[in-house]
């Protein structure tokens, strides 16, 4: 590994704080020797977890003190105004000041969004940040954005999400012209709201590889590489999928533990069922990019465990290594006249 990457980690964020973030960081450092981490947060609480695993600080693992913590249910505006020394804010400051190549947080989404936007600023031509993540498909994965940063979007916003999503997929996966679909309630161009129709028109006339409208099932059928929608719809897609996958796994479990015969069948089918569970495990898809900012910020699920949080850290490292930020910036510059 030639280049050393530094990641700023909001150690206090998420439902479990350092109990999850610190073990995940230690696991990452073991696996990826090209990464250094700055743990940002209340030193006493971080050190307590480090001590338990008998880890000492090194060039690759440092602590940066922040005295405050943004609560998971704190109103974003309030966090932005009153908590200038929060672990989240200090971690984002590190990205702005060049002390870290990106920041990873499992904290309050709204506060992270507002703080990142305030500290890092938007790229020229991009009006709103978008949250993008990958979901599994039958033959790989798909990028979906926005996932909740913007509840009301106009056609321009959806168009900008399409551009950013296309660049993200191309940068991370090395696809030359990733296909982009607009989530709608029918494949035909006459379907959907006025906003959707206008967004489709803008995307059709853009330099990206616009596939046209897609429907909800196309997400998992792998019809396109990128699916664009507003934040309300994207969040519902994500949560609905979580709920359905959870239910299906519960039902399989219930069916297999019904009686002696089915329990025996489960024993024999165990390796296969485990492979299935691993494939469907949402934890390995943890890590969403906040796109459109002049700096790289990755959001982890608030309820992430150490395994899931480590995946968000790995995703962050891969975004840095594929220079997602620089590529989006370059493309946005090129497109700006048309935006």
């Amino acid at each position: 590994m030639r280049v050393n990457i530094t990641i700023a980690v909001d150690a206090m964020g998420g439902d479990y704080g350092p109990e999850v973030t610190v073990p995940a960081v230690l696991d990452l450092l073991d696996r990826d020797h090209g990464v250094s981490v700055i743990l940002v947060g209340v030193p006493g609480r971080i050190e307590a977890v480090l001590r338990r695993s008998q880890t000492v600080l090194s060039a690759r693992l440092q602590i940066l003190a922040a005295t405050e913590v943004v609560a998971m249910d704190e109103p974003p505006a309030q966090a932005l105004k009153n908590k200038k020394d929060s672990s989240m804010r200090v971690a984002i400051n590190l990205v702005r000041d060049g002390g870290a190549a990106c920041c990873v947080s499992a904290g309050n989404t709204g506060a992270l969004m507002a703080t990142a936007r305030f500290v890092l600023k938007m790229m020229p031509g991009i009006e709103r940040p978008a949250i993008a993540t990958t979901l599994p498909t039958i033959n790989g994965h798909v990028y979906v954005l926005d996932l909740g940063a913007n509840v009301d979007c106009n056609a321009e916003h959806l168009y900008q999400f399409g551009i950013m999503g296309s660049i993200l997929a191309s940068a991370v996966d090395g696809k030359e012209r990733p296909s982009v679909g607009l989530l709608n309630i029918g494949h035909e161009a006459i379907k959907g709201s006025e906003v959707i129709k206008q967004a489709a028109e803008l995307l059709r006339n853009s330099p990206i590889n616009f596939h046209g409208n897609v429907e909800g099932d196309d997400i998992y059928r792998g019809t396109v590489d990128v699916v664009v929608c507003d934040g309300f719809v994207g969040n519902v897609v994500l949560k609905t999928s979580e709920g359905l996958a959870w239910m299906m796994v519960q039902i399989i479990r219930r069916e297999f533990s019904k009686n002696l015969v089915s329990r025996l069948a489960a024993l024999i089918a165990l390796p296969v069922l485990n492979r299935f569970r691993r494939h469907m495990d949402p934890r390995q898809y943890n890590g969403a990019s906040l796109l459109g900012l002049k700096g790289l910020v990755i959001k982890s699920h608030g309820g992430a465990d150490a395994y899931a949080f480590r995946h968000a850290l790995q995703y962050a490292a891969s975004e840095v290594r594929s220079n997602v930020l620089g590529r989006i910036e370059a493309s946005v510059m090129q497109l700006e006249p048309s935006i």
Copy 2:
């Protein structure tokens, strides 16, 4: 069975027309001796299928001729204006004129909606019809509406969907005060768009049992009996769920056919896997109600096979028997001052 119910069936609707609708009707008539059916459509094509199964017409099975067929991709306004003798239109006319207690169609959703609205009219106080269906949950099922009739909804519309959904769940399932949730991107009252916040306010002050905001995963967790959303979001929920369930079943199949050992495991696990597949089979949830009209119309999935279409017919019979229409009408009358 005391009362005999007559169902008008749009025999030409759906991707397969009489090839699917007629066998489904014959299956229903065998199973439910309290039902009569009027097959509406092109007599020659219906008779061809009847002849193949050596069925003769009777008091319980009649044909009503309609010369035209609405195409699956025909613009609704055009179908409404130009095809006054379509199987869809004639079947709905039967409901208006009292010749049938309800109508079932697998035809073009937009055309069905527009025609039903034109022929049957809306109930007083209800501005827009809604499409409602049930989805499976971990412990039963949930009603979700709207599923695509309305892409843009205001707070009043969502409020009316809540009222109608509550009455539907109470009538069909006999629940006294079904709980109603408003689909949002967070449980907190501060989350979501202005429309959602206003709708929540209206529902909170209504006589129904309003649970508050729910998120996508709550649909499958069985958190509430009814989930309310606009038609765009509802359609995305439905299609996304279809896609994810399809993908999960494909992956299970793939994993179990990987090698000799897993194929053996599949053989042993087969009865359990079949139970699982039956539980998840979307065909048994086929049949969506068009609510808010002065008449009962049930929409079947366009791609339904005979098994799925028979389920839509059964759902229609259960709605007639539980007097869903009369109950919604009575409740709407009571509520009207507040609406």
